[in-house]
């Protein structure tokens, strides 16, 4: 068993979850069935325990300056109650992690970041090393985080709070009482559906979970979360992105500001973007219900051109889907490389298994 448990561990056991070790945490991979949980989120609403993600707050006069130096997106653009996606880059623009940055008051002296569990300790060390006149506080152990996702998320959550949920637009957040406990509610997520992520005190997590369950929200595990994020073509660190992948390879240049000299990895990112990426993150649909898994070789006309980075079965497409890294020898812009591959046939080879597939535009699923 893993050595860390979220404040909801006992609830997961009560709910009959199957638990797995994920980045050192005992996490629910599924309750009843990945496919049933996927459907709950696509059609109604589901709740995920994402308390394993790292939550770090930076305070002090140099907080905003430190974030601007450490991360790729422009945190100066964040007003009070706004958040955005950003990247923690290495010196040569490799992706050390992807994360969300929240500005509680739109001031220079306080920001919150939420990072991947697998990278939490590495990230905190990097963030500390890149900070001046500011202190980092790891709030992960004393807080919990839930993701409420699905087309009915807002209508199911509204009766539990006096916060005006429609006023919390995409990538905005508000703080207020929710089911009788204090919570920070953001309109963010990782499933391709509308929904909210909610941070609350560790001691209040069970109250909140039970209130959502009583409101009719389905409990969902990391298995369904992975299928949902892959259908929406959101990258996952350790799969589509890692320290050997740069923003321009993965379509993440939108989260990198143009003044490359002002943040770590920024100059290397700008140079690489200008020269053109050498690989491309692309989408594949299998020609059957089979799946290609991470590590499978992607062959076009018999020639190895890259590797599958994530693969699963997509209930929406009724077929295996995958994202992959493929070579981009002519260093075309990502958009052009993706476009020229669309409709091309390939084979995903893993051991003696060969799964025929076709390149498709991303994402695999877009909500209507």
């Amino acid at each position: 068993m893993a050595d860390q448990r979220t404040p909801l561990y006992d609830v997961h056991v009560e709910e009959g979850a199957k638990l797995v070790d994920f980045a050192g945490w005992d996490m629910p991979v599924q309750y009843e069935s990945i496919i049933a949980e996927h459907e709950a989120v696509r059609r109604r609403a589901g709740v995920f325990d994402v308390s394993h993600m790292g939550r770090f707050r930076i305070t002090g006069p140099g907080a905003l300056k430190s974030i601007q130096h450490a991360l790729s997106n422009d945190a100066e653009s964040l007003g009070a109650g706004e958040c955005h996606y950003s990247l923690l880059l290495t010196d040569d623009a490799g992706i050390a992690d992807d994360l969300f940055v929240y500005s509680p008051r739109g001031t220079e002296d306080e920001l919150l970041v939420v990072v991947n569990a697998a990278n939490a300790s590495k990230d905190l060390a990097l963030l500390k090393a890149r900070s001046i006149d500011a202190e980092w506080d790891d709030e992960t152990p004393r807080t919990a985080m839930l993701a409420l996702q699905g087309p009915e998320a807002e209508t199911m959550l509204q009766p539990l709070t006096e916060l005006d949920l429609p006023a919390i637009r995409l990538h905005r957040f508000a703080v207020g009482p929710l089911a009788g406990v204090e919570a920070m509610v953001s309109r963010t997520g990782y499933t391709g559906e509308d929904g909210f992520e909610i941070i609350t005190a560790a001691d209040d997590a069970v109250t909140l979970w039970k209130a959502l369950r009583e409101a009719g929200v389905a409990p969902c595990g990391l298995g369904a979360r992975d299928v949902l994020r892959l259908e929406a073509a959101y990258p996952l660190w350790g799969h589509e992105i890692d320290e050997n992948t740069r923003p321009a390879d993965a379509g993440l240049s939108f989260a990198c500001r143009k003044d490359g000299d002002s943040y770590v990895g920024g100059r290397a990112h700008r140079e690489y973007l200008a020269a053109g990426p050498t690989k491309a993150v692309v989408g594949l649909v299998m020609n059957s219900r089979r799946m290609a898994r991470q590590g499978a070789e992607v062959r076009i006309s018999g020639k190895g051109m890259g590797k599958v980075t994530s693969g699963t079965f997509s209930p929406i497409r009724g077929a295996g889907i995958a994202m992959a890294h493929v070579d981009n020898p002519e260093r075309k812009k990502l958009r052009e490389r993706r476009a020229e591959l669309v409709d091309t046939d390939c084979v995903c080879v893993q051991g003696k298994t060969e799964v025929p597939a076709t390149f498709v535009p991303l994402p695999f699923y877009k909500r209507s």
């Binding site: 199957k18 991979v29 599924q30 069935s33 990945i34 496919i35 298995g223 299928v227 059957s288 219900r289 089979r290 799946m291 898994r293 699963t312 079965f313 295996g320 298994t353």
Partner: protein, 124 residues
């Protein structure tokens, strides 16, 4: 979880139902539960000869992929074709509608060493 007593079981979490010299093969409810939602079952053609212990197919769930092992030697005489379109039948009915293949056994004594339902359950 119930393990039908009329079946024999293997350590690879498969069950065998002997009918004359034919063995119907499937995976146990434990295996189906562990795999989670099954979305693809890759099966050999009928007529394929297998030896005990051979990998004769694969079963894929959303989470993972597992090999299917021949629990007995012989010729595959029938495959469950309904699994092509509805592989989830293995989750829903692992011992009945979710059977996987039938093998005409070349050596019936190979089933002698298999586990009873009780012994299989003890090993879990």
């Amino acid at each position: 979880m119930a393990y039908p007593s009329e079946l024999k079981y293997t350590e690879e979490h498969e069950w065998v139902k002997v009918d004359g010299d034919t063995a119907a093969i499937g995976i146990t409810s434990y295996a189906a539960e562990e795999l989670g939602d099954i979305v693809f079952v890759d099966l050999p053609d009928t007529g394929t000869e297998v030896s005990k212990g051979d990998t004769f197919g694969t079963i894929e769930s959303v989470k993972t992929v597992a090999d299917l092992y021949a629990p007995v030697s012989g010729e595959i005489t029938e495959i469950n074709e309904t699994l092509e379109d509805t592989p989830e039948t293995v989750n829903e009915s692992p011992y009945e509608k979710g059977w996987i293949v039938k093998i005409k056994m070349s050596d019936k004594s190979e089933t002698d060493g298999m586990l009873s339902a009780e012994d299989y359950e003890k090993k879990l």
